[in-house]
Subunit: 254 residues, 4 copies
């Protein structure tokens, strides 16, 4: 089935020639390994040669690709962290989840791919600039039907919605969102937040405790690449050793 | 909304009194902190006292809970690993994925919660015992509508299906599945496998290379808990330091 | 060369039958793999059979062995942490180092083996019980000639010595030792402390900064075992994931 | 006590202005933070201003400093790894140890600082260039009295010495050294090797097993820095995630 106008694909010419592109008729793309002129009918899995003779492939983008290649003006939540949180909070088909703040929309995209058309992501952001950016990114990926973007300072004005299965919080002061989450969440539902610094985690956890959240847990997720090569297998020599601490909790009826 | 017959909930009486239960009228449950007699109308988020006065709460189960509490006769894939693979292979609402083998059905459950009613999980297993176990577990969790269980030795007889978005492989000899995955996968689609030993990974990666898979990557995911306590914050003293190596790859048209 | 009265050796009958013993004429020792009666002339590297026929070997103890098998009433500093600190603070032949507190004497032993006869370890402890214990352990290992044990509350009364190359601090409130270390250390010399909790590290680091210490650095050292077995190589499944944070610093003339 | 001709010191102007220098009368040194002209009488712990007014300090170098700042043409063994091996093999005052190969002399320096004047390090290297380099480095640091450098292909010609307490092996094919180590080591003594790739470790371990070594253990040591800052405490975002696997073993009488 040929790619349609607006569909995304990974252009892969090797580990250092990896791009996320949006198909449109007449697409051309230049890399350090030559220029590619895309024919009208291309399909996922196809092979293409650049004008310098380098071979490229067209691949399906993973959710990680969608996140890591997103147009961004903020730090993003990493796939390893998002994957953990999705399992730990039960995000799945049909769920209703809220997110504070939208940022560049990376987490929004991941959540949207999973809750599907019968679920909903409410994405809150207080800065217009980021609201616009996240919205554009989600639209580009064709996921707008299941996401509602709201400009609102949740720390001040609350969520204004209720009955959420999960609330995701990725702002510098998550503790300010804790009391507001009480109203937004279903009883028995999930809190999830990410913070890079331990003092942020401490303030958030103590606030969660004071507000009746239980089953509070903080972890860090480390991803370590292993290079598998004939006779020379070893872990990669450098890695990202810290993105953030992940805190989950559940709320009970009071 | 009161719990319905057959709905699952987490019974939480503290970090060491944590259970996944299935609601049924007249349910009683004994713990080391006393016995619980469940009233007819209970809801998620409710508080209950055991006959010895200990307080318990009813919480929504996370996907991690469903996996970790599953009835099992095999080792299971851990949520930290499943979460990573889901993002890395683009498993999401509506996708069609195949899994070899069913094992106890832990991964099957996670996949089923995400692909939703418009997606499909084909779960292959060659041993009848595990086919039955995984099937029962998925049925119990109410996810049977989107899962098809197949008894079949994929290494010998292939998948017998095609056009899969992703193929998950969790068997001792993943390299035997590689040539069969070629027919089952959409061009540009994803391979994902988990193996505890490095030699298994090496054989699998070399077989993937020989069979035209590209963008091959192997990682390990480490989950480290941080104990957040007033004046005594530190990582937990012991951790699970190895579950398995995770390998992903994508296939191109040949 | 036969073992002499009082010499220590490792008795090794396998990974789960590992003992540190002190040689004496007529020594007998019982294990779950049988009893050993030691002949008068035994040497390092010798093979012995227990009365049940299991083979044991006599090996030189490593410094790690001396530490891990020490008679203890406290938690001990782990070899992985001590090894790092020794390199990071330049502990070597001939150095003069102070230690607060003695604890069970594990660190004292390690330092004593390295500073040698021309060096000196001053080991401070305020509780008589631990002073006695550490002293006995160091004596047993034949290292008393280079260690001076002092009962003294350093936080209150200071060190009472000066010109130290390094000061090691392993007490619950290292920050109380910081101002006292100023007088004990050579200008340009090293501070080293270990604390399990992050709040202890924070207080210590801020106190070090206020007292003119520079080049302050905090790390954690993780030791992960790899099981090397034909076709089944992988990291051990569980590990000690936290012992303590290690802080080093250097002092300048004021 | 003023620094003497040829003594090494750390010049510290901040985390990014850190140098190991050798004192000589009339020393001048240029940095990106200005030039320093050293007065005739300077002492460890002294403060100096560069011509642009930046403050620098003179500190004692740690053993880690001596290793990391060594003149090198090879990769070096990291302090975290050396520290672990020293404790694990009992390197201490008075010990006799052999090392294959000399490389740039980093490990040689660390061992020499510890075995002291009554101990000895025999450092074997088959390539003249590295023999010369390691020799010059050890001489510069004033440790020549306890190190003997030998040009020799140990894999072919053996050690030619015996009665060693420990043998350190840091060459690409450690397994070739194993049979030779049998003659060089005291019965009950220690083998230590470092290899970056898992296949090297496997070959070495299997060769050690075949040659009667026991108590074989392989680990990796990870060093993770924690940034301690008011309200912003967190692990550093990137780290060195792999240097090498460390294997230790002990030999018995045959």
């Amino acid at each position: 089935m040929p790619l349609r106008e607006g569909e995304y694909f990974i252009l892969y010419g090797g580990p250092k020639a990896l791009y996320l592109l949006k198909y449109s008729k007449g697409l051309r793309f230049s890399t350090h390994l030559g220029e590619l002129i895309f024919p009208e009918h291309i399909e996922y899995g196809d092979k293409l040669k650049s004008n310098t003779g380098h071979t490229f492939y067209l691949l399906f983008p993973s959710t990680s690709d969608l996140i890591l290649f997103i147009k961004r003006k903020t730090t993003i939540m990493y796939p390893k962290d998002i994957g953990y949180l999705i399992l730990e909070t039960g995000v799945s088909y049909g769920k209703k989840v809220a997110e504070v703040g939208s940022g560049s929309g990376g987490l929004t995209v991941a959540l949207a791919t999973i809750v599907g058309k019968e679920g909903k992501v409410f994405s809150f952001e207080r800065r217009e600039e980021f609201n616009r950016l996240a919205k554009a990114n989600v639209e580009n990926y064709g996921l707008s039907d299941r996401v509602e973007f709201i400009i609102r300072d949740v720390a001040l004005d609350g969520f204004g919605i209720e009955n959420m299965d999960v609330v995701f919080v990725d702002v510098p002061e998550p503790w300010n969102i804790v009391p507001k989450a009480l109203e937004a969440l279903k009883p028995g539902g999930f809190w999830a937040s990410l913070s890079p610094n331990i003092e942020q985690v401490q303030k958030t956890v103590f606030k969660l405790e004071k507000n009746g959240f239980i089953r509070i847990k903080t972890v860090e997720i480390l991803e370590r690449e292993i290079l598998i090569r004939e006779g020379k297998t070893r872990p990669r020599e450098r890695m990202i050793s810290h993105t953030g601490y992940l805190t989950t909790a559940q709320i009970v009826r009071t």
